[in-house]
């Protein structure tokens, strides 16, 4: 209730501010209200049902800039009633022709490929927030962001994040079969809040008519964390294993490229080398790898077609072997076996999270986008197939701009994978259809 009152006060203040604002300042206040329904999975008739109000404001006076996107939502999420007050973005700063500096909660997206960006390590995602727009899953983080533009087409960007924020996987919702009987998810293991645990990233970006490219460097905790065994309870005949989301530090060196080929197509590529330490000693740390994406975008009969190859090469890869069952009459070796088996299962699980199930992983994606009836209707469909793990998904979406103020969207998400695959687990929760009505102001 406190959140609600706070939100009402915030809106009143914003509207009052708009009424009294000095004419020399650019002040824009807008936003939306929406109702969203997402359901039809095996586990949930309605996985996500919510109403949301968003207030987006920006103010600019000379070089001073303030930006905010504040959201208030209430509904049922995975059969749990929840009311959320989210400061999606709120930052202030200085902006001039050559130089910007912003401080606050921000979202930064790096990378030139579509949907799969090896160089994009800055912000976490809430992968289990289900709505019509995948961008809703992006979470901001408190950061200092500076950008310097020495020449047209060239910019240098620096990001510093003092406190780590991890992505939300909600694997606790999975029906993991027999494994779930002795697996519990514990509290997240966050790094100590000291500056030495901060995240720092820089990028040099180039945009010219002939090509666009960037090189980037990232040092910090990866928002895409792993899982660690934090305790094993041996008091019962069946050991109970508690695992927890555990982040790891990495250094990533990345690059991307976009080259137009006449009026025919745009070729895009992106790659990052991810360096980690002690992956053999810590199960929640992935091996060093290089991730790469190559794609083309073209127009076919008025339809924008984006096809991509997504690959990964894992260094120092070794296959995991199932521990050998010991002599049942030797209690010491039985315990040792159980420990090894727990380690094996959790490493296996982490490899699925990190997409490091084989030395080389291959996947492809295809996105089709087309608008109809003078942009009143637009259709988009993305398909993805992981050649290595045999997992796939397809996500169609139809948007209808009923009027300038009213929009509707319907679509679905269908994913499939084999037994004990991430998509296999996720499909029982996330498969389904969605519908959304949104009024913008």
């Amino acid at each position: 209730m406190k959140r609600f009152f706070f939100f009402v006060i915030l809106i009143s203040t914003a509207l009052q501010a708009r009424a009294q604002w000095n004419g020399n300042t650019d002040l824009a206040i807008h936003g939306y209200g929406r109702g969203s329904v997402y359901g039809g999975s095996k586990a949930y008739d309605l996985a996500s049902v919510f109403a949301e109000f968003s207030l987006q404001a920006s103010a600019r006076k000379g070089p001073a800039v303030l930006v905010s996107d504040i959201r208030f939502s209430t509904g049922m999420f995975y059969n749990e009633k929840d009311t959320r007050f989210l400061i999606r973005e709120l930052y202030a700063g200085y902006k001039s022709r050559k130089f910007d500096v912003f401080l606050g909660n921000q979202i930064v997206n790096w990378g030139r490929t579509d949907g799969f960006n090896p160089t994009n390590n800055i912000n976490p995602n809430d992968y289990f927030f289900l709505s019509s727009d995948p961008a809703d899953q992006q979470l901001s983080n408190f950061m200092l962001k500076m950008q310097y533009r020495p020449l047209p087409g060239i910019d240098l960007e620096l990001v510093a994040i003092p406190f780590y924020k991890m992505s939300d996987y909600r694997f606790d919702l999975f029906d993991m079969g027999e494994l779930g009987n002795y697996l519990l998810f514990g509290d997240d293991m966050l790094p100590e809040r000291i500056l030495a645990n901060g995240t720092y990233a820089v990028r040099a970006n180039f945009d010219f008519p002939e090509f666009g490219a960037s090189v980037s460097w990232f040092q910090g905790y990866d928002p895409y964390h792993g899982f660690n065994v934090v305790s094993v309870n041996w008091t019962s005949a069946q050991p109970v294993v508690r695992i927890a989301s555990t982040p790891y530090r990495k250094t990533a060196i990345g690059a991307d490229l976009a080259i137009p080929v006449g009026n025919l197509m745009i070729v895009r590529a992106e790659a990052a080398y991810n360096h980690t330490k002690n992956p053999d000693k810590k199960m929640f740390i992935p091996n060093p790898d290089i991730s790469y994406v190559v794609g083309i975008e073209t127009n076919v009969l008025g339809c924008i077609v984006i096809g991509q190859y997504i690959g990964k090469y894992t260094f120092d890869f070794f296959p995991l072997s199932v521990p050998v069952s010991p002599n049942a009459n030797d209690p010491a070796s039985l315990v040792q076996y159980a420990e090894k088996y727990i380690d094996y299962e959790n490493r296996l699980f982490n490899r699925k999270v990190f997409n490091q199930q084989e030395r080389t992983n291959h996947a492809v994606s295809l996105t089709l986008t087309r608008s109809f009836a003078y942009d009143v209707l637009s259709f988009e469909c993305t398909g993805y197939y992981n050649i290595t793990s045999k997992e796939w998904f397809v996500r169609p979406k139809l948007s209808w701009r009923i009027s300038d103020a009213l929009m509707a969207a319907v679509g679905g998400n269908y994913m499939r994978g084999g037994e004990k695959t991430l998509y296999g687990y996720s499909s029982a929760i996330m498969n389904g259809a969605f519908a959304e009505l949104k009024v913008i102001f």
Binding site: A28, Y32, R97, I107, R149, P209, G212, P260, G302
Partner: protein
């Protein structure tokens, strides 16, 4: 796609090697017609009203900044309304002899994206204007002829026809030919008829409220495109024009699009 709003007002008036009735060729007439509305550097705020046959109306508001650097006309188009597209920004480098370069910044994606500059015949922002209409046509792509003279609202005009040299050009632009009505007295273009690929009249552009912006330079403050086939009408109203500001080149840079 060569998004150059100023050229919209000249229509596709273009050239001909054939001398006209008064000793001028279509090329000369169209050239003068284009010159008289060429403001060079400018900033323009405008609103587009889109009305369908049932009377419902949609509104788009935009700001456009344009300036020529080294023979490349660089244009920045920023959407200011409706609010769901507010902040979306297009940057277009209108190259003379090569394909245009285009980038888009969409606030929801939070990054600048290079896009393909094709589909000249596609609707511009859901209006009856096409991307080709908003462009400087490539003069070499068309054959031009003077059809004679006609009266347009009491003004004596030349009728200039342009036809694509082949079907590929016609398909790319979304029309087979145009007929433009150009004032004999001041070279202002008042009307352009667009014929579809089957040769039927499809759209009529009319330019109203010409105002003298600077010395010998005029601009139409209200332009209406009517689709006679589907009865949709799009009206572009200029709210403000500023020709005095000399914009620096760095604002026409992809990395300056993000607000």
């Amino acid at each position: 796609m060569k998004l150059l709003l100023k050229s919209l007002f000249t229509g596709l008036l273009l050239l001909s090697g054939t001398p006209g009735l008064f000793g001028q060729s279509a090329a000369e007439i169209s050239s003068k017609s284009r010159e008289v509305v060429d403001l060079g550097t400018m900033q323009m705020d405008f609103t587009i009203y889109i009305r369908d046959s049932r009377g419902s109306e949609r509104v788009r508001q935009l700001t456009m900044i344009s300036r020529i650097f080294n023979d490349v006309n660089k244009t920045l188009v920023r959407f200011t309304a409706p609010s769901d597209v507010q902040g979306t920004t297009l940057l277009i480098f209108d190259n003379k002899d090569t394909e245009d370069d285009m980038w888009i910044y969409m606030p929801a994606l939070k990054k600048v994206r290079r896009i393909i500059s094709s589909e000249r015949g596609k609707s511009f922002m859901g209006t009856e204007f096409t991307n080709a209409d908003m462009s400087k046509p490539n003069q070499a792509d068309f054959n031009y002829s003077l059809l004679g003279t006609a009266d347009h609202e009491g003004k004596a005009c030349w009728k200039v026809q342009s036809e694509g040299k082949d079907q590929t050009i016609n398909k790319a632009n979304g029309f087979s030919r145009t007929i433009s009505y150009i004032d004999k007295a001041n070279y202002l273009c008042y009307k352009v008829e667009y014929y579809d690929l089957s040769g039927n009249l499809q759209r009529i552009l009319t330019s109203h409220d010409y105002k003298n912006v600077t010395a010998n330079k005029y601009f139409s403050y209200r332009t209406v495109m009517e689709n006679v086939q589907n009865k949709r009408v799009s009206e572009m109203v200029i709210n403000k024009i500023d020709t005095g500001t000399k914009f620096q080149e760095d604002i026409f840079s992809p990395n300056a699009l993000q607000q």
